[in-house]
């Protein structure tokens, strides 16, 4: 039998963990319950925890009040395209920085470290001007191309490639494999877990991206979910007049990511851990 005070300290531990989890999760639950309320219920004092009759039609109404299917498509499409390009160009750069000898390697690595420490948002004004000069404003290509550099990804992959023993690459070289083949047949397969992690984190970041895509697109048909939801909140939702619909819209913006998280939880958390190696 457990000694009494150990039993109590365990109880306190579990109770406090459960309370913390409720606090963390409550905004989501509250969002969901609010999305099912009638207009009377939502303005009730004190607030009602769960509506008498869940009004599922709020979801259908919200879905049709703004082109959310388009917003979701835009987010998923742009994020996927960005991730694919980032995977290719970061692996190539990471390979060059880890397994090739060239004069620019050191200065480039130094620049990348400095870039990692500086706020990317400082470049938004001039980034906008450059994008305008390239004729890429208000287009999918602009949304995609301007996000294709991931300093974090280059770091992460360089780290992964460095952990692959030099002998493996050397042996392949003796067998007549070129750099291109070594990268695709050895480095990438051996670092697949890092690549998965990087893709997931990058996808989440792009799906959620708000300020930069909003700056470079004026056309509402190019809005990503965040900008679309925000404009529904301000215009369609008339700042709180239609809270149940706004909460329903927030729910179907957030749920895809929560599902992705449940499915890929192991990888995402692992990726967050890996991020730390960037520092060393």
């Amino acid at each position: 039998m457990l000694p009494m005070n150990r039993f109590f300290s365990r109880m306190i531990l579990y109770v406090s963990l459960v309370i913390i989890c409720i606090v963390m999760v409550f905004p989501f639950l509250w969002m969901f319950s609010s999305s099912l309320k009638t207009n009377d219920e939502i303005w009730a004092i004190p607030p009602i925890l769960w509506p008498a009759e869940p009004l599922w039609s709020n979801f259908i109404d919200a879905w049709h009040s703004a082109p959310f299917s388009l917003y979701l498509f835009n987010s998923v499409f742009v994020a996927t395209a960005v991730v694919v390009i980032q995977l290719i160009n970061s692996s190539m750069m990471a390979y060059a920085l880890s397994h090739m000898k060239f004069a620019l390697a050191r200065p480039l690595m130094g620049l990348i470290i400095v870039s990692y420490m500086l706020p990317v948002s400082a470049t938004y004004l001039t980034g906008y001007v450059i994008l305008a000069k390239l004729g890429l404003l208000d287009s999918y290509s602009g949304l995609i191309l301007s996000n294709t550099i991931t300093i974090f990804g280059v770091f992460l992959l360089r780290q992964a490639f460095l952990q692959i023993p030099k002998e493996v690459a050397e042996a392949a070289k003796i067998d007549g494999a070129g750099h291109w083949k070594i990268l695709w047949k050895i480095m990438i397969p051996l670092s697949s877990s890092t690549l998965i992690v990087m893709s997931l984190l990058s996808f989440i970041g792009q799906y959620n991206n708000y300020l930069w895509p909003m700056l470079i697109t004026k056309n509402p048909n190019l809005y990503l979910v965040s900008a679309g939801l925000r404009s529904f909140f301000v215009e369609g939702g008339a700042y709180g007049m239609k809270w149940p619909l706004i909460m329903a819209a927030s729910t179907f913006t957030i749920v895809p990511l929560l599902v992705l998280f449940v499915v890929a939880q192991k990888w995402i958390i692992k990726g967050v851990n890996n991020a730390q190696t960037v520092n060393k």
Binding site: L118, Y124, G127, I149, N208, I269
Partner: protein, 292 residues
Amino acid sequence: MNWKKWGEPQAYLFILPALIPYLLFWLAPMAYIVYLSFTDWDFMNPVKNWVGLENYVNLLQEPAFFKALKTTFLFALGNVFPTLIGGLLLALLLNRKMKGSAIYRAIIFSPWITPTVAVSIVWAWIYEPRVGLANAILNFFGAGSLEWTQSPKTALLSVLIVTVWKGIGWTMVFYLVALQNIPESLHEAAMIEGASKTQRFWHVTLPLISPTSFFLFMITTIDAMQAYDQINVLTQGGPSGSTTTLLYLYYDAAFRQFNIGQASTVSISMVVMLGLISLVSMYISRRRIHYL
């Protein structure tokens, strides 16, 4: 010309696909904004006149800049310390063998992956002064109602609560790994020496996780200085400028008032500040951080 010193020519091909966007959308904008900060450009006029330090002099006479600077520091402090300390406490709670610890970890982490705009809208509803959940809870405990995002006194706090809620699980995950990497033998040795639980925390655990703390300090500071989405949804910089951070001021000057002089100098002040913070903390970390 000696081509050999350039190294493998193929390497340049390999870096090209990443180098082009890096140049176009990172380095060039950075250099360009430094240049713009010395001109009188207004976004429309094709002519850019060199004005020397005039924009910087104007900025230093601008009360709004100092107010935003102060708000940014308050926001950074109010975000970094609760997220780091809270994340560490949560990690200490979860760092033991027990049932369901993976579930607790996942729940606490989950806000981090959700879109800031969407969860900020949810929080805007929670903060609703008349029927919102936040005031209902305060009233339940007998405390009076707050105006939350609608009063200059509490607006920054409201934004901070959302930011900390969203980020705390992220730091927790880092600390969990750091704690698991501490060799059991060190704790055992300290125990044999007769160190108490608190002593072991201060003299074994804390020094050994200091690289993680350093890394998290840097990253959360960079993130805090760039916080935009939650401010945009919850307060839009108001009321009466109480949540206007440097980034918000920069965005406002650049894309609403087309005051490029101010926008570029504000953005450079952000870069310089983060640069200084990085340098100082790197200097401190060299001297104080214990790597295993």
